[in-house]
Symmetry: C2
């Protein structure tokens, strides 16, 4: 079964937005790349902002599909952290646009000059909910920032990241290596020395 026109438009728009950001992509470009005329795109999405939010909804849904099951399963803190980090990295590695769009949405929050679409608030709320789960799991908010940097930034880093690594970002071997690295980081590096003294740290 071939994808619907709407799905194809979302696919094309996601790749473009991930590569050049909200302001850097034109509706004409998206429509033509999907094999439509510019005006037909406005039939499916009433504005550029709504197209962008629809793309973001797909991204957050993809991440939730990996993370929510991992977060739901019981276990001690260590096992949950390992499972959740694996799930997060699987989610980011699944599609090369995911991490980029996520990173952009964190940094380009004011991309809409005026009148954000109402669905955007819902996407942000779902994202904040996931962050809350991570904060509860890791204890320290600083560790959440580090985790995001070690995962979302990493898989969003594109050509630059590949130049740093001297190899691909999304190969199975590179993804497995990043899982090991991040888990070792959180379990043996962060937990003890840097975060505990100031606030209450769960043990």
């Amino acid at each position: 079964m071939e994808p619907s026109t709407r799905e194809k438009l979302l696919e094309v728009a996601e790749a473009r937005f991930a590569q050049r950001g909200f302001a850097g992509v034109g509706m004409r470009e998206v429509a033509l790349a999907a094999g439509l005329g510019k005006s037909s795109l406005f039939h499916h999405f009433p504005s550029k902002a709504e197209l962008y939010v629809a793309v973001l909804e797909r991204v957050i849904a993809r991440i939730e599909a990996h993370l929510l099951p991992a977060l739901a399963r019981p276990g001690d803190a260590t096992a949950q952290i390992e499972r959740t980090v694996d799930a997060l990295i699987d989610a980011l590695a699944e599609h090369p646009s995911t991490a980029r769009l996520l990173l952009r949405s964190l940094v380009e929050d004011d991309a809409f000059a005026a009148g954000e679409p109402p669905e955007l608030a819902a996407v942000e709320a779902r994202l904040a909910a996931l962050v809350g789960r991570f904060t509860a799991l890791l204890g320290a908010p600083d560790a959440v920032q580090t985790l995001i940097g070690a995962t979302v930034y990493h898989f969003a880093s594109g050509e630059f990241g590949e130049a740093v690594l001297g190899g691909p970002l999304f190969s199975a071997e590179a993804v497995a290596r990043r899982k090991r690295e991040v888990k070792a980081l959180l379990l043996h590096g962060l937990a003890a020395p840097a975060s505990a003294p100031k606030e209450n740290a769960p043990s």
Copy 2:
């Protein structure tokens, strides 16, 4: 001594580019914010791309001013890592636009549709040189990616990062905390377990 017109333009452009990216900022907007007409801006910078690169040059120079002295001083690996991480974080914390522009330059490498200005290659070379120094210092390329995520992403994360932390990113206390966190991470977390074991390309 008041700043020259060129300096004021660079200041204004830096803030705007950091907030909304290359494509999201218009020349008219920059000029008016600096108290000039749009055409006067083209007298100082012959194109938007050259304005952007001039902004990036300031950013990389600022980072080099902190990092190169720290890298030049002798000492054992641990002391050098501590010194260099402190210098990197000082550089990123000095000006709230620095990390954002740096992160954008990593992710928006293809923002120029056609004909990049030649100065851009020089900026990228200086950035790559710094990355090379870090790779030599830390040993593992993966650790460099993690370090960038833990520092550049962190100070670029803006409102989202402040929501995660539940407090400011750039306060003296938050900056000092990040220094402790990143150093503990690299010295006690990463170095031993995750990077060394074996393997390069399984092919």
